[in-house]
Symmetry: C2
């Protein structure tokens, strides 16, 4: 059985694939696919009420090679940045003892 970290990596890969296929191909996310992925898979990190121009700006930042799609390397780079932000944010926080209930 896969460990939590192995399952996490599989989720990163399969989530991209799901939304790339909704975008009409396996090789990248169009803006609509990226928007749907953000809203459905990263709702905690996606503010409510973003406008289409906000998604367009986000797409522009992620699409570093400017081919009008977010490919896997660009997608995983953005997740790595998100992880690094979380790590830095919580780095000096002492973990709380889990609740007994």
């Amino acid at each position: 059985m896969a460990t939590p970290l192995e399952q996490a990596l599989a989720t990163v890969v399969s989530t991209f694939r799901k939304y790339a296929e909704l975008s009409g191909g396996k090789h990248g996310l169009c803006q609509a696919g990226l928007k749907e992925l953000l809203q459905k898979e990263l709702p905690t990190w996606t503010p409510m009420g973003l406008r289409e121009c906000d998604y367009s700006a986000f797409m522009s930042v992620l699409d570093t090679d400017k081919d009008c799609k977010v490919d896997f390397v660009e997608y995983v780079r953005s997740l790595a940045c998100l992880c690094t932000f979380c790590h830095d944010y919580f780095e000096d926080v002492t973990p709380m003892t889990p609740c007994s209930q």
Copy 2:
């Protein structure tokens, strides 16, 4: 409730933190910590019977700034490479229909 992708990112962050603390600090994995993380959290990707010199070589590849520890950015970069390898490997495979049972 967190989505699978949000849980995946949390797992990436918390796994590093767990093994960094075992390594004696929050800021990086020593070679023993890296070895334990690989063996316990990524067993599918860690060949049986690796020698200490193999872990040392792996440590050397990951530790790009040569400070004798694998920091979070180096760790997450290696996971991103692993995800990219999996994505490329499965890119042209047609997903199988899930079993009905």
